[in-house]
Symmetry: C2
Subunit: 216 residues, 2 copies
DNA sequence: CTAAAACTACGGTAAACACCTTAGTCTTTT
DNA sequence: AAAAGACTAAGGTGTTTACCGTAGTTTTAG
């Protein structure tokens, strides 16, 4: 009985590459390749899936949102995340959500196969570097993991709108003009966002935006 | 006689996916799959390649650097770039370098096949949205295309070091401490970087860094 | 051995950001 | 109806960034 895998990635080429890796094996069976979180959820509602392999950045419903829904509503499905980036600040919230794995797209095929098998068998797989960052040093990250994740204290839709606009290079004044609100209001939103994310300058803010798919 | 294709991408899964797309066709032949620009150049020196399909973000020698070398030293090889991002500011310099195509990794397989065939036959393929941005409106971008690209007036290694550190969330003072130079010097570098890239705030700077693989 | 480029540094000014507080309006939830 | 949350706005203050110019030292290239 092969492991039933769902792949969700909005990049057809990448999704195909992943699928190809599994197709050459007998123990794995890719039962679906979808392009976004919405399609993933729709498929899981109707079919049996052992492992959902989700890209973090996807349109319509992103990987994190999707993972949240899957782990709460379909407890038989184990979720693993795929990402372009090495970002330990995401991991904390992923662990809280109940995700069983996190791997970069730089992972070699054979390691991916092993990781999926381990996750299927009840283990977890997290990118080595990330694990290291969480467990040793890296100052803030481990500390944040112990208290409640700032990411879970989620951003409101208005705040997401603001952070998106900031990361497009707009100043508070420009954003205010675009959204027909006072630049002071934008500043207030900005402050709240930074408090929630625990970052202290624009650079880190944009960094967060990019690594969480909050860019256009 | 199939079209001989070299694929350069540091993500094995993605490279495999692309290769797979071509392997199912008779008119195309993937002659090499390499992980970085250096390996791509080494292969091209020794073998016949019609099309080099390069990822923009690669370690050791990145896609842009690699494209530059190929178009100047191996004029028989046509270069097409693959990118995760939709960034018209890169395109301008790519065109200047002599790249024949630019496509996002969201491209469907059949369109990729067609694009490669067209490029092989002397045409060009540029992502539709990018072309639109270049040709109509988008204020600055077309203007910049006419004068020399700011990206070509390249960043020095020290400047790359600085921009990397900025995008990690460090302030000028922090960077100064880390590199044992005055924060004023960091500011000077910063000013020079922004002039070269024609951006005017941290947000746009980080955006550039992320879209050009200048992050850690 | 020059000339060019890179790296270093500072003075000065205006704008933007970071952070704090308070507070009114509106909508949603209990 | 009251509480909670979201969105709006502003006062105030210190820091950082953005952009000018100038200029010395070191490294690299012709």
């Amino acid at each position: 009985m092969p492991i039933k895998i769902l792949i969700a990635d909005d990049h057809p080429l990448i999704a195909e590459g992943i699928k190809n890796t599994f197709d050459n094996q007998t123990d794995y069976q890719v039962v679906a390749v979808v392009n976004n979180g919405k399609e993933a959820l729709e498929f899981i509602e109707q079919h049996i899936v052992d492992i959902a392999l989700l890209d973090i950045n996807m349109p319509i419903i992103d990987g994190i949102e999707c993972a949240k829904k899957i782990t709460s509503e379909f407890k038989d499905v184990k979720v693993a995340m795929l990402s372009m980036f090495q970002e330990s600040s995401i991991i904390k919230s992923l662990i809280d959500i109940g995700v069983k794995g996190y791997m970069l797209k730089t992972i070699p095929s054979d390691e991916l196969l092993l990781a999926i098998k381990n996750i299927y068998n009840g283990k977890e797989y997290f990118n080595a570097d990330v694990t290291k960052a969480l467990l040793s040093g890296d100052s803030a990250s481990f500390h944040q993991y112990q208290k409640k994740s700032p990411l879970l204290e989620e951003l409101t839709s208005r705040e997401k709108e603001i952070i998106k606009s900031i990361s497009q290079g707009n100043t508070n004044t420009q954003i205010g003009e675009k959204l027909f609100i006072s630049p002071r209001t934008v500043d207030t939103h900005r402050t709240n966002i930074m408090r929630k994310l625990d970052v202290h300058n624009v650079a880190s803010l944009i960094r967060f935006a990019f690594q969480n798919g909050l860019t256009s």
